[in-house]
Amino acid sequence: MALIEIDNLSVTFTAQGRHVRAVEGVSLSVPARESYGLVGESGSGKSTILRAICGLAPVSAGTIRIGGEVLRHDKAFVRRVQMVFQDPYASLHPRHTLDRTLSEPLAIHGLGDADRRVMQALEAVGLPTSFRFRYPHQLSGGQRQRVAIARALMLEPEIVLLDEPTSALDASVQAEVLNLLSRLRDERGLTFLMVSHDLAVIDHMCDRVLVMQHGRAVEELTRDALAGAQMKTDYARSLFEASADRMMG
């Protein structure tokens, strides 16, 4: 049984009598410890799937199961599933120190030993423990994204949803953050569901990838099929060809 099972998911936003179908009939399943990528252009619905899993987008049809259970957004859920957002400038509370950002989930879930856990979390993401009482504006973009990752891992989740975690970062900082994510995944046996517009980042991180367009699933590719350009649909191929300079060699 897969850890994440999404069956025929649709998300429809309604505003001023208009309906926008952001996701239409998308199914996917991710076994434990696999990393699964969602790729597509803006408006393809890839981020909306992550947001639907978190309860941040209205599910209009279909089911999402985590570990076989139909999704309920309770405390147990957030212990299992956490998310890292795209923009490290917007996703951290500007008036909370790192210490407060990192210890808040512990307080909500009644986990003790906050002192030790915060220090460990900083060390795990490669930040000096002297940063503990700093504010986000005192950090660089890459350091902030490390904090966002540390925050997501405070409750020791099994699943981490990553929404363009490196697209706001410089190339060399992106490399550091991707290395960090890979290391944490191996050390903790995490399952990633990752959104990116960059096929090379998806290829580097994920075992399988779902290509999306206009809210629909276009094609699912294994990593080998992607690297070998064995896509069946024209859209997946055009996306691949536009990323040709991301190839090896």
């Binding site: 410089d170 190339a171 060399s172 900082v173 980042v201 190839m247």
Partner: protein, 278 residues
């Protein structure tokens, strides 16, 4: 023929916390070709582009031994003379159409403003010219776009509107600051093709500022690589894979690749001697 030559350009900000040097002695020259300026955030690439138009606000200061555009010394021109250059001779496309178009004016009115004010065209003539400009950047239904507000356009459309606006006065030099970074890859390819055609057909010079080394290598003729306000390497785009400078090599190597081995990506060693000297 040299269109622009810059010698020892420096941009300095005097702040309360002391002096910050954003650009430290940059020299380059440009003909009717595509020159890429690449670097990470804070490398001074945008400041270099803005300096050419003297668009640095105080407390920022621009200094240069020479900054000559088509025989005119940009450092000595009056503000009034600079204004006559900006737009008709040297134009700039900014990164994000969301922040660069006026959100409360229809696209058509923004496109026609210059034609009406500067070229003294009548309404109908200005409209015809604006529509032609939108067609030149491959906008399929220019009439609809003319009447739209910027928020009604997608990112790719907005960026094409910006390019159309900059090209109306037919400038000799276009400075494009990350013109495709906010766009999807397929739209990005389309915008690049439009820019490329324009450079070729109109014989325009282009300064293409980007953080994306591979994109610049594919698109430009020549590349300047900047780090901490200095040009650390200048090379023909075709030679990028043979880059000598450790920073250029580092920037190339730290990128993941499709079909790569998924091992840890090499980071940039900012403690290496080259980074310390810079």
């Amino acid at each position: 023929m040299t269109l622009l030559s810059v010698e020892n350009l420096r941009v300095t900000f005097d702040t309360e916390a002391g002096r910050v040097e954003a650009v430290r002695g940059v020299s380059f020259s440009l003909g009717r070709e595509r020159l890429g300026i690449v670097g990470e955030s804070g490398s001074g690439k945008t400041m270099t582009g803005r300096s050419v138009l003297r668009l640095i606000r105080p407390p920022g200061r621009i200094e240069a031994d020479r900054m000559e555009f088509d025989g005119q010394d940009l450092m000595r021109l009056s503000e009034r003379e600079m204004r006559a250059l900006r737009g008709p001779r040297i134009a700039m496309v900014m990164q994000d159409p969301k922040y660069s178009l006026n959100p409360v004016l229809r696209v058509g009115d923004q496109l026609m403003e210059g034609l009406r004010q500067r070229d003294r065209l009548g309404r109908a003539a200005a409209r015809a010219k604006a529509i032609a400009a939108l067609e030149a950047v491959q906008i399929r239904d220019p009439e609809r776009v003319m009447d739209a507000y910027p928020h009604e356009l997608s990112g790719g459309m907005g960026q094409r509107v910006m390019i159309a606006m900059m090209l109306i006065p037919n400038p000799d030099l276009l400075i494009a600051d990350e013109p495709t970074s906010a766009l999807d890859v397929t739209v990005q390819a389309e915008v690049l093709r439009i820019l490329d055609d324009l450079v070729r057909e109109r014989g325009m010079g282009l300064i293409f500022i980007s953080h994306d080394l591979r994109l610049v290598a594919r698109f430009c003729d020549r590349v300047l690589v900047m780090y901490k306000g200095r040009v650390v390497e200048e090379l023909a785009a075709a030679d990028l894979l043979n880059a000598r400078h450790p920073y250029t090599q580092g920037l190339l190597n730290c990128l993941p690749r499709i079909g790569g081995d998924r091992g840890p990506l090499p980071g940039l060693d900012r403690t290496a001697p080259w980074a310390q000297e810079a």
